[in-house]
Symmetry: D2
Subunit: 138 residues, 4 copies
């Protein structure tokens, strides 16, 4: 219970803008990569398999990000991910982004489970629910 | 007074993911492009000049997005941008993203004005303030 | 005969790297956008329709780019596209990238026509062949 | 002598297009990431330090890619990088991209060393030349 999923990303040249800091939309791509790693290693259900074999997708319904401090190329961004809310067909995730132990950004995201072929919401698969609950905390 | 800045973007192949819809971080890149176009055509102060000549940047402090309906390649995304709040050194922007008159997403973003060399906040330049106010509405 | 397709792109903040110039992989994305515009406006066969309705894709088989001069944010990149070779199931394209009349880069690309569901090459559709030939020159 | 630098990359959701395969410009971003990792771990000269402390950049002068087989999300791309030519101020690199031992793509790239402030070519730094030579092979 109360597990936190940790994922580290090297900030690369291509993430940075002419001001030398990460171009903010890149943080959402890095958060998505973290979510993919969480599905693969944290939930033992790789997203590519969920999409291809089970035809279930996890689109983002709402996302919010506060940027407190910039990051620069060569930095290592450490994302700490946990679950803050579990609905019938949706999950709310929180990402705390740190560098050297200091918080640089914070993301809150709600994803939904949808049937890709029908385009409609679907309950969180029964086998995944308890694994998701293991990451639930306030 | 009460002006709204309108900017249209073609949804391209490269914006879309294996599910055939726009990969959500791309919407933030499209919003940034809209902000650039607003600075250039709405405020008559192109961002490249602001950055290079005046050494002022406009980093994003906080951003929030609600995704109501997906967009697909070939669609035209129409962003309607207005200003919702003007601070001493920051501006809050709202983007309503539509397709064929229907709302698909909504973004709220706060940008700050910073001196790029010092890395510190700076008041909104006096020449820009009235031009920004022209787009202010609730 | 001997038509050239012209497509202009504004170089944006997000295209540029910490050295202040376009990050080179972005040029391939801009070339792809040019190809999409060529299919839509030059060949009157929008790629999204080709992919979705006819289930034909146009993957890149080989691409080569020479970068002579950099581009910076605020610049306008003008791509001049023409066809250099037409095979049974493939087309070779050349893009000359200019700024203010001066050549900055040059791309040569071969695309193939493939059946998306079978994953196999397919002859250039009969209705498209004469329209593609209209852009053929050495 | 004759060293090869190996770098592996997970193919992510965001690398893939509506056809479900990697959007080809992403391969150039992955090749650049491999070059960054080579500078950091192979040459012991991280690119961020080269750029920031020594004010030397390594822009791409020419690049060529042959795509033999597609890659899909969840695949692991293994890049094997070696040096094929060393000039006075430039280096030619070859990347062989494999999946499960099978070649999927091949890239040839020439990078130049430039003084970022002057914008002019500069000889390969003396301390780096022997380390680069260690990766030279035909």
């Amino acid at each position: 219970m109360n597990a936190v999923f940790v994922d580290e990303h090297l900030i690369r040249f291509s993430h940075c803008d002419p001001a030398g800091i990460v171009y903010f939309p890149e943080f959402f791509d890095l958060a998505h990569a973290t979510m993919e790693d969480w599905f693969a290693r944290g939930l033992q259900q790789p997203l590519p398999d969920l999409i291809r074999d089970r035809r279930i997708g996890t689109p983002t319904v709402t996302i919010q990000c506060d940027f407190a401090k910039p990051l620069r190329m060569g930095d290592t961004l450490r994302f700490e991910l946990h679950v803050t809310k579990i609905g019938n067909a949706s999950v709310q995730l929180a990402y705390v982004g740190k560098k050297d132990g200091t918080e640089h950004l914070r993301i809150k995201q709600t994803i939904a489970f949808v049937l890709l072929d029908a385009g409609t919401a679907t309950p969180i698969p029964e086998d995944l629910r308890p694994r998701i609950e293991a990451y639930l905390s306030k």
